[in-house]
């Protein structure tokens, strides 16, 4: 690992925090599992940094939240959030970023927009939701099907976010290709 890698990881962990705290992006539809720009930050970390760096950036973010920083959307944080029903989503975040990053790296020679969209959807929905649902069904003593019902309302919002992430990735790839680290050599 190089110094620059460490800085990039810290940078994206901070970006995830900032996206969660920006008032403009704070759309609290229903409590507990907030849908805000924060989950966009998770997708962005994977899409921009690639698998390992993305997953480490998200892990660093969660680590600082666990240490006591109120950096989760809506100013939540501390150890309490890891005992709430959305813990499956929280712990699934690094896995989601890893999956998104892996897809970006695998298809680095394909056009950015479709690959980033697929990466964001697979990471942020296909991989993340089963983990979130497992967490919710365990903590809430629900059958996985019931837990899934409680989570489904968030999927439309997350789909919109995946589209935005893909648009952002494409704009970045045009304006400053170097910033799309997942596509670098």
């Amino acid at each position: 690992m190089k110094d620059r890698t460490l800085v990039q990881i810290a940078l994206y962990a901070a970006i995830i925090a900032v996206l969660g705290l920006l008032p403009r992006f704070d759309i609290p539809l229903a409590g507990g599992v907030p849908i805000t720009a924060q989950s966009m930050g998770i997708m962005l970390a994977g899409v921009m940094l690639g698998a390992w760096r993305g997953a480490l950036a998200v892990t660093l973010f969660l680590f600082v939240v666990a240490l006591g920083a109120p950096l989760l959307a809506g100013g939540r944080g501390g150890l309490g959030v890891f005992f709430g029903p959305s813990v499956g989503f929280l712990l699934g975040y690094p896995v989601a970023a890893f999956a998104a990053g892996l897809i970006m790296q695998r298809f680095r020679n394909q056009p950015v927009l479709p690959v980033a969209l697929i990466a964001a959807v697979i990471g942020g929905i296909v991989v993340l939701y089963p983990l979130g649902i497992i967490g919710m069904s365990t903590l809430g003593s629900l059958s996985p099907l019931d837990a899934a019902k409680a989570c489904l309302i968030f999927i439309p919002g997350d789909t919109i976010k995946a589209v935005l992430v893909a648009l952002v990735a494409q704009t970045v790839a045009r304006g400053y290709p170097e910033a799309l680290i997942s596509r670098g050599a």
Binding site: A10, L79, F83, V168
Partner: protein
């Protein structure tokens, strides 16, 4: 940055962080297998008594649960639908108690004290070529980046507003990513100029 930490010292501040974390882990393991309503109601009552003993500022943090009410409503409704509303109540009370107990640890433990407790657990990272002190540095860098990035976002937002009269919203994300990466290059150069992180370990 707003903090969950209580500035006013309470008796729980005096308990070493390691003991508090151990107690939290033991409580969470102990309450998981029991689905008894009186027991969980008792646990919540005991937790509220703990908060009361920590003073008014601590008790005010019970309000942290407020954004979670819709979720508890959904949880209880789903159990009610399945014909076991009692289980729904038990589960909700257990989650409330555990969130509050875990938050009590966060409220009364400084971030650096928490970091010191966790540090021995990070030592195995050294085997994978990640020096434990790089974790501490990454944490410090991230916390320092947050206000910087806020300022950067505000600057982008202002120039967008000057041009369009509207707020930028998500359109700022691409320039934000590009600008922040520039910032990270400067930081990495500054870090390297001061001897770097990973070279220092070899010695």
């Amino acid at each position: 940055m707003i903090s969950l930490y209580l500035a006013e010292r309470t008796w729980l501040h005096g308990v070493p962080a390691g003991w508090k974390l151990l107690a939290l882990a033991l409580i969470s393991l102990a309450v998981t297998p029991f689905d008894s309503l009186p027991l969980m109601a008792g646990l919540v009552a005991a937790t509220l008594a703990l908060y009361a003993s920590l003073g008014r500022a601590a008790f005010a943090q019970v309000a942290l649960l407020r954004p979670m009410w819709p979720l508890f409503a959904i949880l209880i409704a789903l159990h009610w639908w399945n014909g076991d509303i009692l289980l729904g109540l038990v589960v909700s009370l257990r989650i409330v108690a555990m969130i509050l107990i875990a938050n009590a640890v966060t409220m009364t433990t400084r971030m650096d004290a928490m970091m010191d407790v966790i540090e021995p657990a990070l030592r195995p990272l050294g085997w994978f070529g990640i020096p434990p002190r790089s974790v501490a540095l990454a944490v410090a860098m991230m916390i320092r980046f947050v206000p910087l990035l806020f300022a950067l976002w505000e600057a982008l937002n202002e120039s967008w507003r000057a041009r369009t009269g509207k707020r930028g919203g998500w359109r700022l994300l691409a320039p934000f990513c590009i600008q922040t990466l520039r910032l990270s290059h400067h930081t990495a150069e500054a870090l390297a100029a001061r001897g770097g992180v990973f070279r220092g370990e070899r010695r």
